[in-house]
C-alpha cells in the first residue's frame, strides 16, 4: 500500500460493454521489420493462449502481442477508441456476458493515430482455464473506475489508466515531497516511437530499440525520461512518464515493446528508481480471483 491520499472515494464507476476483438490483419499497417524484411507474426486481437504477465515480452514470436484476451468497444470501428477504451484502467475487473468475472485489465494497445488507424485494444489478463472457454466476439463488461483519479498531495503528478486498487499497489514512496517509483528500466526519449502525439489514455508508447526492451516482461513498470503524458505523449525534457509493459515487440520500424502510461510529472516531483517495478504477480493474483469456474 502506498498510503498516498487520493480522491478514489469520489470516482464514478461505470460498467462498460464491449467484446473480445477478433484477430485482424490490417492491410494498411507496415508488414516489414526494421530492416525491410517481409515478416508477419500473430498478435492483433483474439485470445493469446498461455501468454501471461511476467513472461519476457520478447519471448513470443508475436507482433504487438498482449497477454490474454484483447477486447474492444463493440459499436465503433476498430480505429476508434470508444468509451470502453477511454474508461478502462489497469486493475479494473472484467466479466463475461453471464456476469462471471474473467480477469483484469492489464494494458492497452494502439494510439498510433486514433480515429484513423486500427486497432485500439485493451488487454485482459486471465487464467488459462478461463481463456479456454472464451472465444472472439464474446460480449464482455469492464467494471471501469479510475478516470479522474488524482493524488491529493501531489497535484504535479498526473495519473492515467490507473484503477484505485492499482494506485494502492504501485511501488511508490514519498520522500521530501518527491514521489519515487520503482521501475524495471529507464528509457531515453529518443527511443519513444509509435504512440507519440496521441492521447495518453489510448494505447501505449513504444520502445523502438529492441536492445533497450530485451529484458522487459509483461507487467513491468518502465520510465521514459523527457516524455510528458499529462494530455498527450510528447517530448518534454523536464518531465518523466512511467507506464506498464502492455504488449510485446512490434516488428515494423518505429515500433517495439509497448508501455501504457500510468504516471507523469516534472522530473523534480516524480523520480524513477531501479528496483522491483514488476507488477506481474499482482496482475496474476487479480486474474486468479476471477478464475473460479462459473
Amino acid at each position: 500500500m502506498t498510503g498516498l491520499r487520493s480522491n478514489a472515494a469520489d470516482l464514478v464507476a461505470a460498467n462498460v460493454a464491449g467484446r473480445i476483438a477478433p484477430a485482424r490483419i490490417h492491410p494498411e499497417a507496415l508488414a516489414v521489420d526494421r530492416d525491410g524484411r517481409q515478416r508477419f507474426l500473430p498478435g492483433t486481437g483474439g485470445i493469446a493462449l498461455g501468454v501471461h504477465s511476467g513472461d519476457l515480452a520478447s519471448r513470443w514470436e508475436g507482433d504487438h502481442l498482449m497477454p490474454g484476451a484483447s477486447i474492444e468497444d463493440a459499436d465503433g470501428t476498430p480505429a476508434v477508441a470508444g468509451p470502453l477504451h477511454l474508461l478502462a484502467c489497469i486493475g479494473n475487473r472484467v466479466r463475461d456476458r453471464a456476469g462471471h468475472p474473467i480477469g483484469v485489465v492489464a494494458g492497452k494497445r494502439g494510439g498510433l493515430a486514433p480515429g484513423f488507424w486500427a486497432p485500439q485494444l485493451v488487454g485482459v489478463e486471465m487464467r488459462d482455464s478461463v481463456a479456454a472457454r472464451l472465444v472472439p466476439e464474446d460480449r464482455v463488461v469492464v467494471e471501469a473506475v479510475g478516470r479522474g483519479l488524482r493524488l491529493l498531495d501531489h497535484p504535479q503528478v498526473t495519473l492515467a489508466n490507473v484503477a484505485p486498487r492499482l494506485l494502492d499497489a504501485l511501488p511508490l514512496r514519498e520522500e521530501n515531497g518527491t514521489l519515487h517509483c520503482a521501475v524495471c528500466a529507464v528509457v531515453p526519449p529518443e527511443l519513444a516511437g509509435a504512440g507519440l502525439g496521441q492521447d495518453s489514455w489510448i494505447g501505449d508508447l513504444e520502445i523502438t530499440d529492441p536492445a533497450a526492451a530485451a529484458e522487459l516482461r509483461f507487467g513491468d513498470l518502465v520510465a521514459f525520461t523527457g516524455i510528458d503524458s499529462a494530455v498527450s505523449r510528447y517530448y518534454e525534457p523536464t518531465r518523466v512518464s512511467i507506464g506498464i509493459v502492455s504488449h510485446g515487440p512490434g516488428q515494423a520500424p518505429g515500433h517495439g515493446v509497448g508501455v501504457t502510461i500510468l504516471l507523469t510529472g516534472p522530473a523534480t516531483h516524480l523520480r524513477p528508481v531501479g528496483g522491483n517495478g514488476a507488477l506481474a504477480e499482482l496482475l496474476m493474483d487479480w486474474a486468479g480471483e476471477a478464475g473460479s469456474e462459473p
Partner: protein, 281 residues
C-alpha cells in the same frame, strides 16, 4: 546525375478534393481549442509562407486530394510524388494546373492563388504520378519516397559519391514526433512544436522548405537510427497538441555519410522548380 528516371512509369490518377475538417485538440497545458484542420481548399497560404504563422491545426495549404475508394486512395497516396503535375478536371477552374508539394494523410497540391480561389471540395483532378521506384546509379543505400525525378535533380548534386543537398534546417532526431512508426511513403512526420530546442528551430520553417533530420532511418517506416539521416519537405502547418507540429514529408533517406547537407535558407520547392502556372514551356 544518373538515375533510372527514364524507366519510371507515369500513371494518371483521378482524385477528388477532400472536405475540410475542424480539429478539436487539447494542448499539453490543458487548454482545448477548435481550429481549422486538415483537408478542404485552403486559400491565402502558399509555398514560402511560414508554416506556423496561421492559427490552425495540421492545416494543408492548397487542395487536399484523396479518393472515396480505399484502394484507389491507397494508390493515390502511395504513387503521388512531390513535383508531379496536377490538372483540374471539373468545376470553375477546370484545366488549371498545379503541383504536388507534399503529403499528410491526403496528397497536397498547390495551385496559383486565382485558381485556388475557385476550387472547392468534391471537384476532381488528374495527377500524373511518377517517381515511385526512383533509384540513383551507384547509390543503392539511398531510398527515395514521394520524390519525382525532376525535384530530385533540382535538389541534389553528386559530389565525391555524396549527395549535396541544400536544406533550410538540420534538426536532431528528437525533433521527430507523430509519424514515427508509420509508412514513410504515405504519411508525413510532425516536428515537436512544444519542446525546445526543436520548437525554436521549427518556428520559421516555410511550406515547401527542405529540412534534414539526423539519426532517422525512413527506408520503410520511420525510426530513430544513429548514423542515418532523412531529408523532407514541409507539408502541413503547425499543430497544437503535444507531439504534433509542422509536418515534414520524407523524400530521401540514407546513411548520413551519403549526404552533404548545405544550409541554405532558400532551399524550397518553389525556388527549385518553376511552378506549373509559371512554366511557359
Amino acid at each position: 546525375m544518373a538515375t533510372n528516371a527514364h524507366r519510371l512509369v507515369t500513371t494518371r490518377l483521378r482524385a477528388q478534393i477532400q472536405p475540410g475538417a475542424v480539429n478539436v485538440v487539447t494542448r499539453p497545458d490543458g487548454v482545448s481549442q477548435a481550429l481549422p484542420g486538415q483537408g478542404g481548399v485552403v486559400t491565402g497560404i502558399g509555398l514560402g509562407d511560414v508554416a506556423a504563422a496561421r492559427t490552425g491545426d495540421h492545416v494543408e495549404p492548397g487542395a487536399s486530394l484523396g479518393h472515396a475508394d480505399s484502394a484507389a486512395n491507397h494508390a493515390i497516396r502511395l504513387l503521388s510524388c512531390v513535383g508531379n503535375r496536377v490538372t483540374v478536371l471539373d468545376g470553375p477552374a477546370a484545366g488549371a494546373r498545379g503541383v504536388v508539394y507534399g503529403k499528410h494523410g491526403a496528397v497536397l497540391a498547390m495551385f496559383a492563388p486565382d485558381v485556388l480561389a475557385r476550387l472547392a471540395p468534391g471537384e476532381s483532378v488528374a495527377i500524373d504520378a511518377q517517381g515511385i521506384g526512383l533509384a540513383i546509379d551507384g547509390m543503392d543505400d539511398v531510398t527515395a519516397h514521394s520524390l519525382s525525378p525532376q525535384v530530385f535533380e533540382a535538389m541534389a548534386m553528386p559530389v565525391d559519391g555524396r549527395l549535396r543537398i541544400g536544406v533550410v534546417a538540420i534538426l536532431p532526431s528528437i525533433a521527430a514526433a507523430a509519424g514515427i512508426g508509420m509508412p514513410a511513403a504515405m504519411f508525413n512526420m510532425d516536428l515537436h512544436s512544444w519542446s525546445e530546442p526543436v520548437a525554436s528551430q521549427a518556428k520559421g520553417l516555410r511550406f515547401g522548405d527542405l529540412v534534414a533530420v539526423l539519426d532517422q532511418d525512413h527506408r520503410f517506416g520511420r525510426q530513430h537510427r544513429p548514423g542515418w539521416a532523412m531529408v523532407g519537405i514541409v507539408s502541413h502547418g503547425t499543430a497544437i497538441g503535444g507531439g504534433h507540429g509542422v509536418g515534414l514529408m520524407t523524400l530521401l533517406t540514407a546513411p548520413a555519410a551519403r549526404f552533404d547537407f548545405v544550409p541554405n535558407a532558400e532551399a524550397r520547392l518553389d525556388r527549385l522548380l518553376p511552378l506549373p502556372w509559371e512554366d511557359t514551356a
